[in-house]
């Protein structure tokens, strides 16, 4: 079994990681770098719980071979936490009771962050579409959508409706 050493910038830090053949980015982030906000819901691209940013773009870590991310910048929820850039979104999730078991929440937060970077004032329909790849099995989507609406309003400085 050949091991390759990848050069990744993960959450702002340059890291060299040895990986086995066809290891997924999900395995590398969770098992080697202990970034367990990256969940393993389905490992089939269907749930969004492994959402991360690769070079700023929303991607599914389970469908990404770690080697395809060699040389890239990878951001997980831990990284967004460190920069504090996610706090208003988290606050809004708390206030709206948008997390019950919390399993889907990291993916929801990363997808929300990706949306608001691209589109700071999304409509309700745009929020629904932007989160359509992220499944929640227990909270229900209405509080989550409301949380994103409120976070967008707070971040763009207008009063929440």
């Amino acid at each position: 079994m050949t091991t390759k050493v990848l050069r990744l910038n993960v959450n702002g830090e340059d890291t060299l990681v040895p990986v086995g053949p066809m290891a997924t980015l999900q395995e590398v982030l969770r098992d080697k770098l202990e970034l367990t906000s990256v969940k393993v819901g389905c490992a089939q691209g269907g749930c969004g719980s492994c959402s991360v940013l690769i070079d700023g773009e929303l991607r599914l870590a389970c469908l990404t071979p770690a080697e395809a991310a060699d040389g890239c910048t990878v951001t997980t929820l831990e990284g967004l936490n460190e920069s504090n850039s996610i706090v208003p979104i988290q606050q809004s999730f708390i206030e709206n009771y948008a997390a019950q078991c919390g399993f889907c929440t990291p993916g929801m937060l990363v997808a929300t962050k990706a949306l608001l970077e691209r589109n700071p004032k999304p409509s309700r329909d745009e929020i629904i579409e932007a989160l359509s790849g992220n499944l929640c099995r227990c909270t229900g989507y209405l509080p989550i959508i409301k949380a994103v609406e409120d976070a967008a309003a707070a971040l763009s400085g207008k009063q929440s409706a």
Binding site: G20, M22, R59, L60, L63, T64, P65, A68, A114, N134
Partner: protein
């Protein structure tokens, strides 16, 4: 587990495909390949990624479009001048998936996947395949015929997809279980040109109604040459429902798919009547 390899050029990639034959599997965005690998299948010695080949350009020149094979659904949905193809790209999974899913991979996807391929069939697209025997440029329809005849996908590296600026109006419609991020029950694409109240050109393609996306000659014949009125549309819808060969899977039954082929083809054609 197979080894992940990359090539530095299309020539090198073609050489690797020729050298390793069926022990090498090409990976575009990996949204299908990775699913298969994660489900435990590991027949391959090599997975060849296409990143680094710069095959993701989208160009429009001299009345035709050229999509690089690794152009993503996200890139395609941002093309306002390709409304039907953009609408289909928007319906491929969710946004994170669209950032990975390539148009090239969609052509090789098995039904009911193939929402981009079904529009490309209606656009009569031509493929550019780099093979050890040189470049080949079959139409997408011929490519699928070869696939069926040989029982496996034609060998080679798909580098680009080309089609002329459509003469007619193109409509894509998808029947899914949810509004966004929903596997297709079926999808349909129609490309119809009309002159003096008569249909002069008709290309109708179905996805989820056979092993891969395919044209439906019976439905095309039902509207060609006449007025696109309710009767003609009903004939086309009935012909498509009768001619198609959908499968039953976890998304929908064969019966339901056949019904939806008729319903959605009728709705799509009604937009052009």
């Amino acid at each position: 587990m197979p080894e992940y390899i990359r090539s530095g050029s299309v020539e090198e990639a073609v050489g690797l495909i020729a050298e390793h034959g069926s022990s090498l599997w090409i990976m575009g965005g990996g949204t299908i390949v990775m699913q298969v690998l994660e489900s435990g299948a590991d027949y391959w010695q090599y997975i060849m990624g296409l990143d680094g080949l710069a095959l993701d350009g989208i160009e429009r020149a001299n009345g035709s479009w050229r999509l690089g094979a690794t152009a993503t659904a996200t890139q395609i949905r941002a093309q306002p001048d390709l409304p039907a193809l953009a609408a289909a790209a928007r319906m491929v999974g969710g946004p994170a998936l669209q950032n990975a899913a390539t148009v090239g991979g969609n052509i090789y996807a098995r039904s009911p996947q193939g929402d981009l391929a079904v529009v490309l069939l209606a656009l009569d697209a031509r493929l550019h395949l780099a093979t050890a025997d040189g470049e080949q440029a079959p139409s997408l329809g011929e490519f699928y015929d070869d696939w069926e005849a040989a029982g496996r996908t034609p060998p080679g590296l798909l580098t680009a997809i080309e089609f002329a600026e459509p003469a007619g109006e193109v409509v894509f419609m998808k029947c899914g279980r949810r509004r966004f991020n929903s596997a297709s029950v079926i999808s349909v694409a129609v490309n119809v040109a009309q002159k003096d109240g008569k249909v002069t050109e008709a290309r109708i393609a179905l996805c989820g109604a056979g092993p891969h996306a395919q044209r439906c000659a019976a439905a095309e014949e039902a509207i060609l040459g006449g007025k696109l009125d309710d009767a003609a549309i009903a004939r086309a819808a009935a012909a498509a429902a009768a001619a198609c060969a959908p499968v039953t899977d976890t998304v929908a039954s064969e019966w339901y798919r056949r019904r939806m082929v008729g319903v959605y083809l009728r709705r799509a054609l009604a937009q052009l009547a």
